[in-house]
């Protein structure tokens, strides 16, 4: 019986072991152990950016066990993370966004990164609005990777030249240029009709209409009076005006398909975060030559951001703790911040670096982010969960999406927005 069993085992397991060993050896050929990192960076640029971290770690002799969970915005990844933590088997580290890091910190699940932060002078080099998410009760609990910013317009350069459109500097010029494109038979605004994209465009409009202080008051501080104010009504009016320049077939469209409309010359503009740049670069286009990037008119002085954070989970294993510290050191280091942003299309989260090695759009974006950090106009993006917790964020999405997909009057929308936010906070 046992020999029989062994034979089966041999027959089944050995080929499997051989098949696995090639990768297993590649990962575990180190004496310092390996880190297990949960993330949802599975697309081309994202995976390459993550590869940079993996390479740095292997330079230090640390192995890498990737734990990718597919699915945009990390909904699936967070569900997996929750089950891992509740079953007391946390990964070494995980990539999270916005409020998630705070939630885990509140549950006392995270390692403190204070000593790494102190050695790297993180308190000075990372801007305050990012520290607000990477710190909890004054302790560093996450390492910020980069700054992505969401108030960008991506434009088709050849269409601008053909129609004689100059880069718009005011809201009126912006609308007029889209009208010009539409009159010439193109789509003015490439628009993806998913709730988070509706919200991305909307937060741009709010920022352009009310300015940075109003944005902060309404979408970050969630002041009910600001949410149901004349300025908010006016924002909805402008949003409605903007929506006239999208095509009818936008509901449900993915953001990268909307970007493709600009790339192919079907549409003039897209309002989207700087990850859209990756699509242009992948299509072999050059910034400032083949496509244009500029801040949404009216928001030039402000930057709405989202930022990926790496959190490390508490462990008693000394070796794991050492690896976590090394990983945090690498993520916060100047060279890595530059390399990572080059690959991912973002700008570094540290504000003390030179922008020489970044491309034209990122160079401008980085200088603007630094200036915004100084003038207190670097603000979290509502659409990407850096302004309000998930429950409030989604309540806001509900209102914005239903505004887009109905003929709801602007004042009603503002009123509903205030009510929805209050409902989600209760």
């Amino acid at each position: 019986m046992t020999t029989m069993f062994n034979k089966c085992l041999m027959a089944g397991v050995i080929p499997l072991a051989i098949a696995l060993s090639s990768t297993a050896f590649a990962q575990e050929s180190t004496d310092k152990g390996e880190v297990e990192v949960l993330n949802w960076w599975t697309s081309g640029g994202e995976a390459r950016a993550l590869g940079a971290l993996k390479d740095k770690l292997s330079d230090d002799g640390i192995g890498w066990k990737n734990m990718p969970v597919a699915g945009g915005a990390g909904t699936n990844a967070m569900a997996v993370l929750r089950s891992r933590i509740t079953s007391n088997n946390p990964p070494t580290a995980a990539q999270v966004l916005g409020y998630d890091a705070q939630d885990w910190a509140d549950r006392d699940a995270l390692s403190s990164l204070d000593d790494v932060a102190k050695a790297g002078n993180w308190d000075e080099v990372f801007p305050q609005p990012i520290q607000r998410f990477a710190k909890s009760d004054g302790h560093w609990i996450a390492a910020p990777f980069e700054i992505h910013s969401t108030n960008w317009v991506w434009a088709n350069k050849s269409m601008m030249d053909e129609l004689g459109i100059q880069q718009p500097s005011s809201w009126e010029e912006f609308i007029a240029s889209m009208k010009k494109a539409q009159d010439a038979g193109h789509t003015g605004l490439a628009y993806g009709g998913q709730p988070w994209q509706d919200a991305t465009v909307f937060e741009n409009v709010v920022l352009a209409t009310g300015g940075a202080d109003f944005y902060r008051q309404a979408l970050i501080d969630l002041d009910p009076e600001a949410l149901d104010s004349d300025t908010m009504t006016q924002s909805f009016d402008r949003f409605r005006e903007l929506l006239q320049y999208k095509d009818d077939n936008s509901p449900g469209r993915d953001w990268n398909l909307a970007t493709a409309m600009v790339i192919k010359g079907d549409a003039l503009y897209q309002i989207m975060g700087d990850w859209a740049k990756g699509e242009f670069l992948n299509a072999g286009l050059k910034p400032e030559q083949d496509f244009m990037c500029f801040r949404t008119p009216g928001t030039q002085d402000a930057v709405t951001f989202n930022s990926d954070l790496m959190i490390m989970f508490k462990t008693d294993d000394k070796q794991q703790q050492a690896m976590q510290r090394t990983m945090a050191e690498i993520i916060g280091s100047p060279e890595f911040q530059i390399t990572f942003s080059q690959l991912k299309g973002s700008v570094p989260a540290r504000t003390d670096l030179s922008s020489d090695e970044l491309d034209a759009c990122a160079k401008r974006g980085y200088e603007q982010a630094k200036a915004a950090a100084k003038s207190n106009t670097l603000m979290g993006s509502m659409a990407h969960g850096y302004a309000a917790p998930a429950s409030v964020k989604n309540a806001v999405f509900d209102i914005i999406s239903s505004f887009v997909n109905s003929d709801m009057p602007s004042d009603v929308a503002a009123e509903q927005l205030a009510m929805a936010v209050q409902g989600a906070r209760s």
Partner: protein, 299 residues
């Protein structure tokens, strides 16, 4: 049997214990993973749970938040519209197809397979295919335009008011064949003598169906409605593949509501409350049905 155990053969004892031994693991598993989790979910719906379960008692707070939620209103409205249309259209069409197919025609087996085949596809496939077909930029509308019919317009999928009806179309397309098969089986089970007698009496065919055959199909109707009702309430994958709950929230149903609150909004308490509510609705449908089914043999 009151004799001492030693006098019973080992076979007897085995016969006594074996069924219990064989059934007990699955019994325990079902008890724990079905009924245990129902209790757990109910408890969560009365707690303060957000991102993670939190067992502090919160009374009916989550329930009142659920019922004051605006998206929950949309979800309930949609499940009514969807459920009612889905059940009625599937039943009527299924019955009609079954009657037509019951006319002793040639190649019946092939036709039956063709009608039944959509049921073999998963809802995800159905949803994606119909999403392409109904998308004005890709499918039907564009084809009609390219064929020269420029004024043709069918944009329900991207119209917030009509999108839920596109889901009904896809769902009906998928389930009708199955309902037809149920009715066909029912029709074949009816006593032919009675129909022959009616024919001899000179009753027209439609009257035979209306007065004799369809009334006898009552149990099939009941089964069809119960099957369709629970499919309707579970309709998660079709909506996700076809509209993603959109445009906006226009096609949200309780199932997508529950998923969104549990996994992307970190509001586990409200999600649990909505799940318990859905369970209660299904129980209200299924329990009377099971009761009548299990009683019938005795009467």
């Amino acid at each position: 049997m009151s004799t001492s155990p030693s006098s019973r053969g080992i076979g007897d004892r085995l016969q006594h214990w074996l069924p219990r031994l064989v059934l007990s693991p699955s019994f325990v598993l079902v008890l724990f993973f079905v009924y245990g989790f129902i209790l757990w979910t109910t408890w969560i719906s009365f707690s303060n749970s957000g991102m993670l379960p939190d067992y502090t008692w919160a009374g009916t707070r989550q329930w009142s938040r659920l019922w004051s939620s605006w998206t929950w209103g949309i979800a309930l409205h949609n499940i009514w519209v969807f459920g009612l249309l889905y059940i009625v259209i599937c039943t009527v069409l299924g019955l009609l197809l079954a009657i037509l197919l019951d006319q002793r025609i040639r190649a019946e087996g092939t036709l039956r397979t063709i009608y039944l085949y959509p049921m073999a596809l998963s809802f995800i496939v159905t949803g994606t295919a119909w999403q392409w077909f109904l998308n004005p930029g890709l499918g039907l509308e564009r084809t009609m335009h390219s064929l020269g019919w420029e004024s043709f317009s069918f944009n329900w999928l991207i119209d917030a008011k009509m999108a839920i009806y596109t889901v009904v179309i896809a769902a009906v397309w998928q389930a009708t064949g199955f309902i037809m098969a149920m009715f066909l089986a029912g029709l074949r089970g009816i006593d032919g003598e009675m129909i022959k007698a009616a024919q001899i009496d000179g009753a027209p065919t439609w009257k035979i169906y209306g007065r004799i055959i369809i009334p006898q199909l009552r149990p099939v109707f009941l089964s069809a409605i119960v099957v369709l009702a629970h499919l309707a309430i579970k309709s998660f994958d079709l909506i996700v593949a076809m509209t993603g709950g959109g445009p906006g929230n226009a096609t949200a149903v309780p199932a997508t509501f529950m998923y969104s609150y549990a996994f992307s909004r970190n509001e586990m308490g409200i999600a649990a409350a909505s799940a318990v509510f859905m369970l209660a609705v299904i129980a209200a449908l299924i329990i009377p049905y099971l009761y009548s089914e299990l009683r019938e043999p005795r009467s």
